[in-house]
């Protein structure tokens, strides 16, 4: 069920997973997504909170022990696989359309 939910990742999901390739706390993710996407993608705090919960539930990310009261997360192997699959999908989309777009 949970796997089915993330068959294709939305932009926001993709960037959240991308920013978690290094361990990072929830609050930092918002800023990280913004800088990773050159200010293009904004993740609202509510969306981030929900997505982190969903990712954790389906094993894409895990909580790691941290000092202080903030909760830190990092991507798991399952999450990496999902990220890579999505990357491959996006890449193939770009490759497939490259020639056609150039003609325009």
């Amino acid at each position: 069920m949970a796997r089915k939910k993330f068959k294709t990742l939305t932009e926001q999901m993709y960037y959240i997973l991308l920013s978690l390739t290094e361990p990072c706390c929830g609050i930092d993710i918002m800023n990280k997504v913004l800088s990773l996407s050159n200010q293009r993608i904004q993740v609202g705090p509510g969306t981030l909170y929900t997505l982190l919960g969903n990712f954790q539930e389906s094993g894409f990310i895990q909580e790691i022990p941290a000092l202080g009261r903030k909760r830190n997360y990092t991507i798991t192997d399952l999450g990496k696989k999902a990220l890579k699959t999505e990357y491959a999908r996006l890449l193939s989309m770009v490759n497939d359309s490259e020639k056609h777009i150039e003609k325009l």
């Binding site: 609050i27 918002m30 609202g44 909170y49 009261r69 909760r71």
Partner: protein, 459 residues
């Protein structure tokens, strides 16, 4: 009517809304802040799942006085566990931290609804994924509406049991309650349709990549007026039932004890269980059980029949008016039956705007323990101004005893139509505006019939 003034610095307002109408709540809060009132607290009626008796009514908002200013609000529903892992840094704190970091000031929350405020219009929205928002709204709305529907059914269940047409039509309480229940059912269905149509439109606009159109404050405001009227009506009706039916018929104490026990159990459950599911199951079970117990008490004590139970022999603990043997219009003595026997008289009288009925049962016994029955008469007089009520009552009575009553012309009764049941020695007489049922082991001679008619038809 439901708005409560507290003091000059604080006001309380009631607003009814569904989960897809939160944008309207947002508009409302912004409007209030422009008028110089800042939201301070939100409180739903009840404890969420059974947050209302018939339909989910809405929430109370407490405002405090501020300098009028333009503020931006975020009102959304999130499924955040109030306290997870038992750590001081729980999910709620984490969620609020995220929002604070994005520039939103946490104001208050109740149940699933969280209210944040910001002074800048450019603050990043708390929810940026419309799909997540829509799915969550759908899930919660369906859950709420299903629970409302179950509660609605449970509310009317005592009225659905054991109610014959004559019980129903002669009781103002039953007529009124069925009207209210019908309105509430329509309201419930309207709410579900209202949400369903909106959801379908929202889903479509998401598919084609445009923005979801939310309900405006104006449209919700109109709905609010009707909700408030209905809520007040239901509250008034409950007050009426409480005073008239429960207090007068001495059901107050058992019902109050059960109500108190229910509240205590719900309180203990909400403290005892941490998981939402367990909480819900325990609270729902308690509520359903107590509703059934109260329903059984009520339906077993003539509550819904609006009857005055009149007993001539043993004081009935539930009755509040007694009638002596010689107070009923006709008793067994009237037919020259032995004066020295022991008597048992029971009579019900009930009247509503549509009809009235008098039912009487008089027996005489030849022993003091009232075991050996000597003679009996049973009769009822049903009176109504409306022809369809009379027709319905008659066909009800005839079909109750299918094939036993047959039309007869060979009698002394002066009625328009007479039906006779030979086995029971019973008659049904149809008069201009009333129907009389009479049975008993008496002699139906001309004098007796004249006497019965003269006594019963003047009621």
């Amino acid at each position: 009517m439901l708005d409560i003034m507290r003091n000059k610095n604080k006001i309380k307002r009631f607003m009814s809304f569904q989960l897809h109408e939160l944008e309207a709540v947002k508009e409302y809060l912004e409007e209030m802040s422009l008028k110089g009132w800042m939201i301070e607290k939100i409180k739903f009626i009840g404890n969420g799942y059974n947050s209302n008796f018939i339909f989910r009514s809405g929430a109370y908002f407490t405002f405090k006085k501020i300098k009028p200013q333009k503020l931006y609000f975020s009102v959304d529903s999130y499924g955040i566990p109030a306290n997870s892992f038992g750590s001081p840094y729980n999910s709620l704190n984490e969620f609020i931290d995220y929002c604070t970091n994005a520039g939103w000031k946490y104001i208050c929350h109740d149940q699933l609804i969280y209210i944040f405020c910001s002074s800048s219009p450019n603050t990043i929205p708390i929810q940026t994924d419309d799909n997540i928002k829509l799915e969550f709204t759908k899930k919660s709305e369906i859950k709420f509406n299903l629970i409302n529907f179950i509660f609605l059914l449970l509310t009317c269940s005592p009225f659905l049991f054991n109610v014959s047409f004559s019980d129903y039509i002669t009781s103002n309480t039953l007529i009124l309650s069925s009207i209210l229940i019908t309105i509430a059912t329509f309201f419930c269905i309207y709410n579900i349709l209202n949400f369903g149509i909106w959801y379908k439109k929202a889903k479509k606009s998401l598919e084609i990549g445009s923005n979801i159109k939310y309900k405006t404050y104006k449209s919700v405001k109109t709905k609010n007026i009707s909700t408030k009227i209905l809520t007040s009506l239901i509250l008034l009706f409950i007050a009426y039932m409480f005073v008239y039916e429960v207090l007068f018929k001495r059901l107050f104490i058992p019902c109050f004890i059960i109500f108190l026990l229910t509240l205590i159990t719900i309180y203990i459950c909400s403290k005892l269980f941490i998981s939402k599911k367990e909480k819900f199951i325990s609270i729902a079970t308690t509520s359903i059980c107590s509703i059934f117990i109260i329903g059984i008490i009520i339906s077993n004590s003539n509550f819904i029949n609006n009857h005055e139970i009149i007993s001539g022999r043993t004081p009935n603990s539930l009755s509040f008016r007694f009638l002596r043997h010689d107070e009923v219009p006709i008793n067994v003595d009237d037919f020259g039956i032995n004066q020295y026997t022991y008597k048992d008289t029971q009579a019900n009288y009930s009247k509503s705007i549509a009809a009235e009925i008098l039912e009487c049962n008089d027996k005489s016994f030849s022993d003091i323990k009232c075991e050996v029955q000597d003679h009996y008469i049973t009769y009822s007089v049903f009176h109504s101004k409306y022809q369809w009520v009379l027709d319905h009552y008659l066909s009800d009575k005839l079909s109750d005893n299918t094939g036993e009553f047959s039309k007869t012309y060979d009698t002394f009764w002066s009625a328009d139509e007479v039906y006779y049941n030979e086995k029971e020695n019973a008659y049904i007489m149809v008069y201009n505006d009333s129907i009389v049922l009479f049975s008993g082991d008496i002699n139906y001679n001309k004098n007796n019939i004249r006497f019965i008619e003269s006594q019963l038809l003047q009621i």
